[in-house]
């Protein structure tokens, strides 16, 4: 998995977000075995204690479960994964709304912009 750890906020919390995204996008499929702590630490380039803390938090949130000797697995529960997907989506939407409102747009204006986004690729942003 591609790890995105940008230095903002605790690394363990960023790792939790990364794994959550992995679960929703299917990088870690339902019921799939997760890498062991040390493997995950190496992959993400972090301290094993940090990886351990992230996994413990994911367990606490019911997204991951441990089997005594076999390791840790992603939940197989479709409802839980669907709720997680919605939670991540809500987070994105809230952040987007905050940004747009800071730019001075009302909810209605934002909605109409979403329905009809102008193509801003290619650097011709200011033609209008």
């Amino acid at each position: 998995m591609e790890w995105r750890l940008d230095g903002e906020g605790p690394i363990w919390a960023q790792m939790v977000e990364n794994v959550k995204r992995g679960i929703v996008t299917g990088a870690y499929g339902p019921g799939e075995r997760l890498p062991a702590v040390r493997e995950m630490a190496l992959e993400a380039g972090v301290n094993p204690n940090t990886a351990q803390r992230a996994l413990t938090e994911l367990e606490r949130q019911g997204l991951v479960y441990a089997q005594r000797t076999a390791g840790r697995f992603v939940t197989g529960d479709a409802g839980t994964i669907e709720r997680l997907r919605r939670e991540l989506a809500d987070g994105k939407v809230r952040a987007f709304l905050e940004d747009m409102e800071a730019l001075g747009y009302s909810r209605e204006e934002i909605l109409s912009l979403i329905r009809d986004p102008r193509d801003v690729s290619g650097g011709e942003r200011h033609e209008a």
């Binding site: 750890l5 230095g7 301290n47 940090t50």
Partner: protein
């Protein structure tokens, strides 16, 4: 019990004070960044901890005892400068380390060297600077020590070598041992650190968990460092 403890630790070179009244404890299982600008006392602290220097005042204790013959069995030290005889082959160095240190795990070292595709029959002086540094780190990390003192392990190597070195530190992690990494290249190491110690002009400025610091300040350790040491 703390594997490294400093109490009122001071070191003076003539009239110049390199460390002043340092109080510090490092517990096993932690990877600690010893961070400070050049000349802040990082190397002095490390040399005091492995008995290469004697305190002017105060105490430094390794596993409860003053540095000496016994503590050298517990401490694995990577000096700031290359210190291995350059005429020796990599293989020869494995034997050398095995003879010196009872806790040297030759199989682990051989395994790490093979990952690097370094021919053990080559002499150290015929390796690239990056590979020489990697060999030295592999030797140091292949001991089953209680305290690893790494003085600037990532200074002067390219980013790929840096990743290898940090990966080796993570791979060698042992919950019963502590690792102290001195560096001023914080952005590169901060993800690997449990705790950070900032020292400046021989004094302790800050001793905190890296994640707590990031959480409280809403910044990376690197940014906090730049703020604290702004010139």
């Amino acid at each position: 019990m703390a594997i490294l403890k400093c109490a009122g630790l001071s070191k003076r070179y003539g009239k110049v004070s390199a460390l002043e009244g340092l109080d510090l404890a490092v517990e096993p299982g932690r990877i600690v960044g010893l961070l400070g600008p050049n000349g802040s006392g990082k190397t002095t602290l490390i040399k005091l901890a492995n008995g290469l220097l004697r305190p002017s005042e105060g105490k430094v204790l390794i596993d409860g005892r003053e540095p000496g013959v016994e503590s050298k069995k517990l401490v694995s030290y990577l000096p700031e400068r290359a210190c291995l005889p350059e005429w020796m082959t990599v293989q020869g160095l494995l034997g050398f380390y095995g003879d010196f240190y009872a806790d040297f795990d030759r199989a682990a070292a051989t395994d790490m060297l093979s990952r690097l595709e370094i021919d053990p029959k080559r002499k150290l002086k015929h390796l690239s600077k990056g590979n020489r540094e990697k060999v030295q780190l592999i030797l140091v990390m292949s001991r089953k020590a209680k305290l690893y003192l790494l003085d600037e392990p990532i200074g002067g190597v390219d980013p790929a070598a840096r990743d290898f070195i940090l990966g080796t530190i993570i791979r060698s992690y042992n919950p019963e041992a502590a690792v102290i990494i001195s560096t001023h290249l914080i952005a590169d190491v901060e993800k690997v650190l449990d705790d950070v110690i900032f020292i400046s002009q021989g004094k302790l400025l800050l001793n905190a968990s890296a994640d707590d610091l990031r959480e409280q300040r809403g910044k990376s350790v690197d940014e906090v460092f730049r703020e604290v040491f702004r010139c």
